[in-house]
Symmetry: C2
């Protein structure tokens, strides 16, 4: 307990090494994980930003440009990357264009790559808890980078204050394709690689769509060329605007908290169910001729 | 109970009206829903086919062509549509091209549209139970049509014996885009609208990708033009081939059953948690200065 007190004090002081340690404790449910979580004082001042989009849309380059933009303003930024294809997920492995090493040595930046839950791209199983650990340290922005395929893009929208969906200009009917689902997720659209042909047409159509679906907040469409940082200032402004917007709409905050509580309760209640053991049990039952799944589930519960 | 006996007998005889009634009981958890489920004798002979893909890929036209193909062979087919944009979801509303009325009057075809769980396109909350009800009636094929956005495409792969992912030929890098996630879901790829330019190139790249990811089953890539039924024979053959394949690989069957059991246990354990009530409770807690979510969850559980 005393040990955790030190850890929590160190977190509040923004000490990186202790933050990494606390994440490891929570991610792996090591001894004292629960006590640590129940003593945390997550700050509401940090803006949690989900960054999603298909592979190839330039998410990592965009994240990189945002890191530069924020650190130039002396902001503190944490990046949690749950995208297995992201260069943020490779630590010391550096691409030509993305020179992450600058940020690994920057004391205002904390980067952590996290395993995704399953082959279908779910977020890390402990992402809620890990985000709370990071929130209790001293960050202005927490960027959660996730691949926009399968369920992770939906999941990240459930925990982020602001969800950025990155897309690239494609044929006209792609805007139609995005109608269901993605429109509901996106707080901000970024059309990256906007020097491509058709980009203006695509942006125009997306803006019309966003306008038609607007509620209190009309999802802005920001054009960017992340490799040259074009459009990043504009994106930074929109991120701040959206933060002000949700500060004034308690409904979104309470909806996020409710979703979070629901997920944590579910995790807690399903903790004893191990899929491998469940499979073994089912296999031994299947030989019985009168096996009925619904009866069986009632019995084991 | 006696009433259910009659219902179950009628189901086994393939009576459509009783099937519709049984689905309604289970979908809405009406009186006796649990007893009905625990008395069902779902047949393993029905092949459950998930049909997914983005809006605009021609899923409904493809489903329509498959229905014709199967009914021409005197097969019995049930369609469960969880895609809000599908013409299967509109009953009597008929498009020009898709003449569903033929099938609504065909006694070998049963069509039911189902609500999706949330705005983000999750499957119907009772899809597992409803599929079991349909399986206990006398069908050769059960086609679950779902929109390939957000989480429903992942979910359908968790309950279908065979998952068909429908795509349309796009720019070359789209094949890259599909690498994560969709590749793991698809048992069969259909490249619809294959008379488009670039179709051959796209199919070629997709086949190379499928080959590189092949395990015991190499995901075939079928070219189709659903509006003229081109390629549907081939698709029908691949569906049968995949069924033979899984008959011989008990691992897939047991994995599906385990996932199903897991979902049902989770549903059962979370039944008492109503998100609206949870939100109200949280709102009244939030004013307390020492509120800690983890402590609170431990207390209410």
């Amino acid at each position: 307990m005393a040990q955790h007190k030190n850890l929590i004090t160190a977190l509040a002081q923004g000490k990186t090494k202790e933050l990494a340690k606390a994440i490891t404790i929570v991610e792996n449910e090591l001894d004292g994980s629960y006590e640590l979580l129940s003593q945390l004082k997550p700050k509401n001042s940090a803006q949690i930003i989900g960054l999603t989009g298909p592979p190839g849309a330039g998410k990592s380059t965009l994240a990189n440009a945002l890191l530069k933009y924020w650190t130039d303003q002396n902001k503190k930024v944490a990046v949690l990357s749950v995208d297995p294809s992201s260069p943020f997920n490779y630590g010391a492995l550096l691409g030509d264009r993305i020179r992450m090493s600058d940020f690994y040595l920057n004391e205002n930046v904390f980067i952590r790559s996290l395993a995704s839950r399953g082959s279908l791209g779910g977020l890390n199983a402990k992402i809620i808890e890990i985000t709370d650990v990071v929130r209790s340290a001293n960050f202005d922005y927490i960027l959660i980078e996730t691949v926009g395929v399968g369920q992770s893009e939906v999941e990240v929208a459930g925990i982020a204050d602001t969800t950025i969906v990155t897309v690239v200009p494609e044929a006209g009917d792609e805007v139609q394709t995005m109608k269901s689902g993605v429109m509901e997720i996106a707080d901000i659209f970024v059309v990256n690689k906007s020097d491509r042909p058709n980009a203006d047409e695509f942006v125009k159509n997306l803006r019309i769509l966003a306008h038609s679906k607007a509620t209190e907040w009309e999802t802005p469409v920001v054009k960017s060329i992340a490799t040259t940082s074009e459009g990043i200032d504009k994106l930074g402004e929109k991120i701040t605007e959206h933060n002000l917007h949700i500060e004034n709409s308690p409904d979104k905050k309470i909806a996020l908290l409710t979703e979070k509580a629901y997920q944590l309760i579910q995790q807690r209640r399903m903790k004893d169910i191990d899929k491998n053991k469940l499979r073994d049990k089912l296999m031994s039952e299947l030989s019985k001729t009168d096996f009925n799944l619904y009866e069986w589930i009632k019995k084991i519960n």
